[in-house]
């Protein structure tokens, strides 16, 4: 399993190169890997059917008890097969769809990165590993939505999706930590699943449930976070088909199903999850009504479908989980196909507005056939898998489950509403563009090449085949997945014909209502224009207003704290330090050293160094020229280095000497860029600065004295002294600490150094031309500086 994920990441890295050499065939070539992985995962169906699972693990941060664990059971298997199978098809389809795109290599790179991350997400057996892959899918989704990065709308949609899904992921991480803590510092998913009762009894149950649900809801576009999904339609269509209908948006559903044994089965769970799901179904269904763009229509129906799955999982019953998983599979098949059809129509005719399309079946017979077959499953007509899913959905809502029994009629009504909308949208997307009178389109439509219609055709055929022989799929993939949530679930049998019962009646009702709504669509749209007056109060608008508010706050506080004058920065930093430290000292009390401390002898050269530092500091403060101040500060630095030598810290002294030297060189180079030194502050400001400096000096002195009064605890230094040579093969403890004992700190520090250097480089080299011009104009008034090294100090 680990190798499967790694192999996808490895292929991602060489994909750009591959696309340069393989040209048109790249898509087919790349699709080979996910296709093989589909077979690999499917071949483990026997294992999960027996109720067994496969585990692979290795240590990650052993000292923190975190391990990388991959786990394959029925639920992971179902998702993995979907990810790899549809992934392979998308590679083929996308290669043809974006054939002439200049960044096709980059497209494969991002796509495969996403595929690896998504596969890792569903295979992860540790909460923290799951989180890492979860955020990785958010980031790759960001890159893919913004693939056409020169399009302003695409960039805005990408960052909106990132803020919502990655932000939700962070909230979820907080929930994971709480969950891990209630489980006794344990992040292993499978062992947490067995502690369901203890977790539900914990006082942290409701907070952690809410936090984790925010993660799942943002990812799966649940109300009120749903609006990022329609905007994400800015992504190229293969991406919409793969990420935003078949796989990534199902991650939230997957997470809820995965954690249901630990978190589910309580009234709170049903309240939060079922209500959100039902609201999302309503929101998605109602908002879809106003769309005419094929992709956005499909996006809103995806929101409603995700709401359906979430609602089902919330009701805590076996039949609901079964329905949710059958629905998940059916939805992935038909929605993936329909997105690809929308892409083909857009690609070949130049528009994807259903109001502007009609009668394409003559020009695009193959596309029309596939669209109708996929549309049948979407509208949940027999003999499609979608029909079975819808029947099971009605069955589950009529049952109501553990805590939603009282509301089962409400839930059923919502399900009928969604079912009705699915029929209408199916007709709008899969029938309307292809039948009726032909309409003129920007490009004359014709059928797409084989590589493009092959993928949706396969998905559509799978929708029929699985509908006709449902148990072949259910036994291998659905039942083991249900068993992952309810280990003692009764065996399931799927059938197209359930007899004359209530679900069948509801199916007929929703189909008839959907047909009626479709006939009245144009008419109703014209009559309900007045509802647009509510659009400024949508969640997307609230989100945008919140973003603006944060921006305004940031601008306001930056203007105060970082107004571009370095001396103000220094003042703010110093005053904050003084305030906080003095407050802490007042609260905690200050214990100064006893009299004996002051009687320790001082040698004359120590006094000499001290006086030198003092004199140089005063000289630096009083200097009338910059170079003089820099030189005096250099003397202060060297003096401090001497102190280090006198008190036995040669490493520190060496570093201090060198840093001083380089600082002087850098300062001298910077000096050139500064205007002539003149009095920039008046008398009162100088008095203020003097007070602040004196206060800071007094504070530092107190801190040193307090430190000296504390009994020295030598445990840490003893540890290093004892372990340096035997464990780390080094006699210089300072260096051993830097490169071994606390190597991670050093790594962090050199990374910060690198980032800072890049920042300096960017500031100097990539300054906007306007600023350079202004600087030039300013300096024109000054006499050009020749060189510091020539000793023309007067110019400074």
């Amino acid at each position: 399993m680990i190798n499967a994920v790694i192999s996808i990441f490895a292929l991602a890295c060489i994909a750009p190169l591959l696309s340069r050499f393989a040209g048109r065939r790249t898509g087919l070539l790349i699709a080979l890997l996910p296709a093989c992985l589909t077979v690999y995962f499917a071949s483990h169906a026997g294992l999960t059917m027996r109720g067994e699972a496969m585990t692979e693990r290795f240590a990650w941060a052993a000292s923190l008890g975190i391990e990388v664990k991959f786990y394959l059971d029925g639920l992971s298997l179902l998702m993995a097969v979907l990810i790899c199978g549809i992934g392979a098809l998308v590679c083929v389809y996308g290669g043809s769809y974006l054939q002439k795109h200049e960044h096709l290599g980059r497209f494969y790179f991002f796509l495969l990165l996403f595929m690896g991350a998504m596969l890792g997400l569903v295979l992860a057996g540790n909460l923290l590993v799951l989180f890492v892959f979860w955020e990785l899918t958010s980031i790759t989704s960001f890159l893919l939505i913004g693939f056409e990065h020169e399009n302003e709308k695409a960039r805005a949609a990408a960052s909106q999706a990132l803020i919502i899904t990655a932000g939700g992921g962070l909230v979820m991480l907080a929930g994971f930590v709480l969950l891990g803590q209630t489980g006794g510092g344990n992040y292993d998913v499978q062992s947490l699943l067995t502690q369901g009762d203890a977790i539900k009894a914990s006082s942290l149950y409701v907070p952690l449930l809410l936090l984790i649900c925010v993660g799942a809801f943002t990812k799966s576009a649940q109300f009120p976070f749903h609006f990022w999904l329609p905007n994400a339609m800015q992504a190229p269509t293969p991406i919409s088909a793969y990420l935003h209908s078949a796989t990534m948006v199902k991650a939230g559903v997957y997470l809820l199903a995965r954690l249901a044994p630990a978190l589910g089965g309580s009234p709170e769970w049903t309240l939060i999850v079922t209500t959100t799901g039902a609201l999302t179904m309503i929101a998605g269904s109602v908002l879809a009504f106003y769309q005419t763009d094929m992709k956005r229509l499909l996006a809103y129906s995806t929101i409603a479908a995700l709401g359906t799955m979430v609602m089902l999982i919330g009701t805590n019953s076996e039949s609901a989980i079964r329905a949710a998983l059958v629905f998940l599979l059916a939805h992935a098949l038909y929605k993936g196909a329909l997105f690809m059809i929308a892409g083909i129509v857009d690609h070949e005719t130049g528009t994807k507005d259903v109001a502007a399309l009609g009668g394409l079946r003559k020009a695009m017979p193959v596309t029309a056939t596939i669209a109708v077959v996929a549309g049948l499953s979407f509208a949940s007509l027999p003999p499609m898998l979608g029909f079975i899913g819808k029947e099971m959905l009605f069955e589950a809502t009529l049952d109501g489950g553990l805590y939603a029994g009282r509301f089962r009629l409400v839930l059923t009504a919502v399900a009928v509403l969604a079912g009705m909308m699915f029929v209408t949208i199916a007709l709008l997307v899969a029938v309307r563009p292809f039948f009726g009178a032909p309409k003129a389109t920007p490009k004359a439509g014709r059928d797409a090449p084989f590589e493009m219609w092959f993928a949706p055709a396969l998905l559509a055929i799978a929708g029929i085949a699985f509908g006709i022989i449902p148990n072949a799929v259910a036994d291998r993939f659905i039942a083991p997945a249900v068993a992952a949530v309810y280990p003692n679930a009764a065996p399931m049998k799927l059938a197209l014909w359930h007899g004359l019962n209530a679900p069948l009646g509801l199916s007929v009702v929703s189909i008839v209502c959907g047909l009626v709504l479709y006939r009245a669509w144009e008419n109703l749209r014209a009559r309900t224009k007045w509802t647009r007056m509510f659009s400024p109060f949508g969640t997307a608008e609230i989100f945008a207003a919140g973003g603006k508010l944060i921006e305004r706050f940031a601008r306001w506080q930056t203007a105060i704290l970082q107004n571009g004058k370095l001396r103000i920065y220094l003042l703010v930093i110093t005053l904050t330090t003084i305030g906080l430290t003095a407050y802490t000292m007042r609260r905690g009390g200050v214990r100064l050293p006893t009299a004996s401390f002051y009687r320790t002898g001082v040698t004359f050269y120590e006094v000499g160094v001290g006086l030198l530092i003092l004199a140089a500091s005063i000289a630096a403060a009083r200097s009338k020229s910059r170079l003089g101040a820099v030189a005096a500060l250099g003397v202060v630095g060297y003096g401090v280095a001497l102190v280090f030598i006198l008190f036995g810290a040669p490493d520190l002294a060496l570093t201090q000497f060198l840093i001083e030297t380089l600082t002087v060189i850098l300062l001298v180079l910077v000096l050139y860029h500064l205007p002539r030194l003149k009095a920039i502050t008046g008398k009162p400001a100088r008095a203020r600065d003097l007070m602040v400096s004196l206060a800071f000096g007094a504070l530092m002195t107190t801190i040193v004295l307090v430190t000296a009064s504390v009994e020295f605890d030598s445990r840490v230094s003893d540890f290093y002294a004892a372990h340096s040579l035997p464990d780390a093969h080094g006699r210089n403890i300072v260096n051993v600490i830097l490169v071994d004992f606390r190597g991670l700190d050093t790594l962090g520090e050199i990374t910060v150094l690198a980032v800072a250097a890049i920042g300096v480089f960017a500031l100097l080299k990539l300054r906007p031309q306007a600023i350079k011009q202004r600087a030039k104009r300013k300096r024109r008034q000054l006499r050009p500086l020749k060189s510091i090294a020539r000793g023309e100090e007067s110019t400074l």
């Binding site: 290795f58 240590a59 941060a61 052993a62 000292s63 040669p650 490493d651 060496l654 570093t655 060198l658 840093i659 030297t661 380089l662 060189i665 850098l666 180079l669 910077v670 050139y672 860029h673 464990d727 780390a728 093969h729 080094g730 006699r731 210089n732 300072v734 260096n735 051993v736 830097l738 490169v739 071994d740 190597g743 991670l744 050093t746 790594l747 050199i750 990374t751 150094l753 690198a754 800072a756 250097a757 890049i758 300096v760 480089f761 100097l764 080299k765 600087a775 030039k776 300096r779 024109r780 050009p784 500086l785 020749k786 060189s787 090294a789 020539r790």
Partner: protein
């Protein structure tokens, strides 16, 4: 720039660089280490840049400071990852004894490579700052010359000529 400084630099440079490598390798047992050694090397190249000019110093370093920076970070991370492949925590030191001809038994470990990574990062950071600042200084002087004389500013040949003129003046 003064002849004395340039001549002195010519002899000081190899010494300083040797000293920096010496500091780097002795660091694990005696005062020294990647950070200090990197600063010495950076100071040496900066001295050269002051005595001659930035272009000459860049030519002497041969690789871009940015490359040094990236290579150093990569080396530090890879040296830490080696332990991970062996099933230990990231950045755990992995040591081995090697028998080298003439020198005898030597203990080599990943912390040394980590330290070399630190060395490259420090050299890269310092040189990136020094070189860019120094180049900006020259570039602005040139801009000033152009505005002063207000002539053939667009012609690249004149630009090069002026560049040389400025550097000549610095010598």
């Amino acid at each position: 720039m003064s002849l004395i400084l340039r001549t002195a630099t010519r002899y000081l440079m190899p010494l300083l660089l040797l000293f920096s490598v010496f500091l780097l390798f002795r660091g694990h047992n005696k005062p020294g280490g990647g950070f200090i050694a990197g600063l010495v090397a950076a100071a040496a190249f900066s001295l050269y840049a002051i005595a001659n000019d930035v272009r000459a110093a860049r030519a002497l370093v041969r690789v871009e400071p940015q490359t040094l920076l990236g290579a150093g970070l990569l080396l530090a991370i890879v040296s830490g990852l080696l332990a991970s492949f062996g099933g230990k925590a990231f950045l755990t030191g992995v040591w081995g004894d090697f028998h080298l001809p003439l020198i005898g038994k030597v203990a080599l470990g990943t912390p040394l490579f980590f330290d070399i990574g630190v060395y490259f990062v420090v050299v890269g950071v310092a040189l990136m700052d020094v070189f860019t600042l120094a180049e900006e200084t020259v570039a602005e002087e040139m801009d000033l010359l152009e505005t002063d004389e207000n002539a053939e500013t667009k012609n690249p040949a004149t630009r090069v000529h002026k560049m040389n003129a400025i550097e000549e003046r610095h010598r």
